[in-house]
Amino acid sequence: MTREKKLKVTIDSRELEVRPNTTILQAARESDVYIPSLCTLEHLPSYGACRLCIVEVDGLRGYPTSCTTPIEEGMVIRTDTTELRSLRQEILKLLLSEHPASCLFCEEHDECKEFQGTIRKVGVTTGCRYCPNDARCELQEITEKVGLTETSYPVYYRGFSVEKYDPFYDRDYNLCILCGRCVRVCNSVRLNGTLSFKQRGKLTTIGPAFDRTHLEAGCEFCGACVSVCPTGALSAKVSKWYGKPDTQVTTTCVYCPVGCRLELQVKNNEVIDVLPNYDSPIDRGLICVKGRFAIPEYVLSPERLGTPSRLTPVGYEVISWDQAIDEAAKRLRGTKPEDKLVMVSPQLSNEDLFVAQQFTREVLGSDAVISSMMIDLGDDLVPFLELVTSSSTFDTIEDARGVLAVGFDSTYGYSPVGIRIKKAGREGALLVTLGACDSNLDMLSETAFQMEPPQWAEFLGSLVDYLARGGKGKVKIRKEWTSDIERISRIFSDSSTNILVIGQEAIFSSGRREIFEKARTLRDKLGWKIIVAHPYTNLLGMLAMGAFPGAKPGEFLKNGDAVTVDLPVIDLAKRKKVVYLIGEGRFDTIPDCDYLIYQNGLPPVASRQPDLILPASLFTESSGTTTNGEGRVLKIEKATEPFMDAKPDWWIFNRIAEKLNKGKLKYKDVAAVQAAIKKQVKGFYGGRKPVEFARINAERATKWLRGAPKQEGQSSGAGNNPSYRGIPLARVVAGMKAIDEWVNTSLLSDKEAQ
């Protein structure tokens, strides 16, 4: 890297050395000189709308905006003169002439923050809380810094009704100052284009086309607009009246395998809001609706299980942890290994999964630690795992010249992957989508093929055959596809890097086996990269930790040899004595049993009542790590104390083990579990590089599953219906339910239209 030559400039009579190729505003901020601005946003090009960042520069006429003026050698800049100050105050007054300003200009302003002691105000005890943004408002801050204490203009109230009908966030455009940040972030960062300026002049408003609701207009509810709004115009429903959070905790989202880094906003031992982390290299702050809005409502759900309880003929009886552990131990003791089944969720942490498998193997003497993920995939499990363990990193999309997305939609999940694909498409890569209905990538794609899922495999097969023969020889292709396939394969074969993205709809389609095989051919014969966008958060951690039948910890990691997965036959139709569920809430995949132990955060979605309920803490309440879809090991930080008496999963295993068989599991804390993992799984916590997995021998796929419930194409649990620990988010999060209903009705009307 060549070192950039620094430029010498003078800002406010200070001689400074600044980076070249920046604007005056950037240079000033980097040198800790404050210039007010309402429209600039990091990561976005300058806009020059609010005019507050004006400065004086020797030799330049007038007052240029510092955010649009490039810095030059020898510039003499003044940022804070009497003239500038009065100009800025005037500009701000004009800006505020359409913004209710009673929180900004008030005789009681200074005392109000401290005491809220006046009787002249509405709500003595609550203070002037008519705006959700009070005390964390950028406009308040700037008014103070610019030194504006009163306004000479009347405030014009635009009189819009507050828009509350969409999920997750409310919009009060009476507070909007039209800075355009939300429009820019929606269009240029999220590449979504839901928000737009409408009309012009004094009639200008912000919103989607034709007075559509945000749901109808294709909003992803990523909340990026809410985060950047400098006023209270956009506010999250759940957290708007909480005010300023006490602390912020950086953690990893466990709702899907992308592994977005999140900033949990904590107040009074509760997670009140979640913000993206723009510095995260994995997701770049491009989190989806689930991470942004679906966490507080889930972890603070009124349905949370708080105390251990046991089923009696007259209902549930609350018992102590000691009694609960005794009860569990009593049931597990003495039963034969084949009569017991342990089911774990792939959304547990690496540490919990490690202890779960150790518990099953060493304490229960069984190898039957399975997951409903395995049952979802049935006999296609091994080819699926083979692709998942060799999945490419998300960054590879950035260099791709061709992307083919099959059954993939990133509207309400997998946004960091979806946006990378859209970006590649916008920057000129060939983007082709294959789906059953409109996807959010279609807008930027070269061609969007629509056909029923059973035809996807055939289409993909034709494309693969065509590409493999380089256009030579005869390839059998359906007539209606011939010209399209010829056209796109020409571009794909000219491109240096191609990526196939397999989405959830493809994973749960009836032709998935063939799609997996075609993907393998593309990867092995034609050098394509593959990304499998599956819903099983810590699937790779599950494999690495050996929470998988027939595989001890570390066996799946790269040691040179290919791994042959030998799955023991599991018969779900056979009645078990005890089934122990950890983080599994779906009962359609579990066999009948005499005794059911249910360890989770929320009650199950089923008619079968568990015999013993053990309340578990959720990912915001315990520490650990999770492995994302690329194989990166990411930290989960504890942000709050567990709900009531809930305990971490590893702690519960420990206690039961202690009762059953003294001395086998003796972990004091998560660090002790991690030390044990370090010993058994070499190089797992190795650092920033993704964990590498051994190649799985996909040719030898055995029929291992018997008596599985019938699945009709789509999975009932994890498919398009996101869940955490087996509980669909739509069940506990109101906004997710609204989205779910909307998706279903629009799918129905699409079908009717056809």
Binding site: T194, K198, P208, A209, F210, A217, M443
Partner: protein, 149 residues
């Protein structure tokens, strides 16, 4: 996608810069920009429907409602305003049951306001299709409208 839209789009390249020429052609063909047209344009130019709406609502030349068989334009220039143009507009809005800029349900009339028709001496003025009516009163206008089917 209806055939005329397809033909219009085929005349343009798939660059975003083509948006305004495309919108102009669509308006010329249909007389207005429908939600369906916006959808077609969005897919072809790879610009979101909302952005297209944003751009086209900025310009006064584009409209989003289907024009009626007859266009009624009420002049609200200074002279016409002084001599009762606003009353005429209000009467029309009430009589036809629509707001300015909209079209009646039977598509018979579309109602608009204009700033000046350039014949202030004849004020107040109303234009129906190509005909200019001068010194209009409410009664005169009610009779006049009956002649248009």
């Amino acid at each position: 996608m209806p055939e005329p839209i397809r033909t219009i789009l085929a005349k343009h390249s798939r660059e975003p810069d083509e948006l305004i020429p495309v919108l102009q052609d669509v308006q010329k063909e249909y007389g207005y920009i429908s939600a369906e047209s916006v959808r077609g344009i969005s897919k072809y130019l790879r610009i979101s429907e909302n952005t297209i709406y944003g751009v086209s609502s900025f310009y006064a030349q584009f409209r989003f409602t289907e024009p009626g068989r007859h266009s009624v334009k009420v002049c609200l220039g200074t002279a016409c305003h002084v001599r009762g143009g606003a009353t005429l507009l209000e009467m029309l809005e009430r009589g036809l049951g629509i707001h300015c800029g909209e079209t009646t349900e039977d598509k018979r009339f579309g109602l608009d306001r204009v700033a000046c028709l350039g014949c202030c001496a004849l004020s107040p003025v109303v234009q129906i299709d190509k005909e200019i009516y001068s010194r209009v009163t409410v009664n005169k206008l009610t009779e006049q409208l009956k002649e248009y089917e």
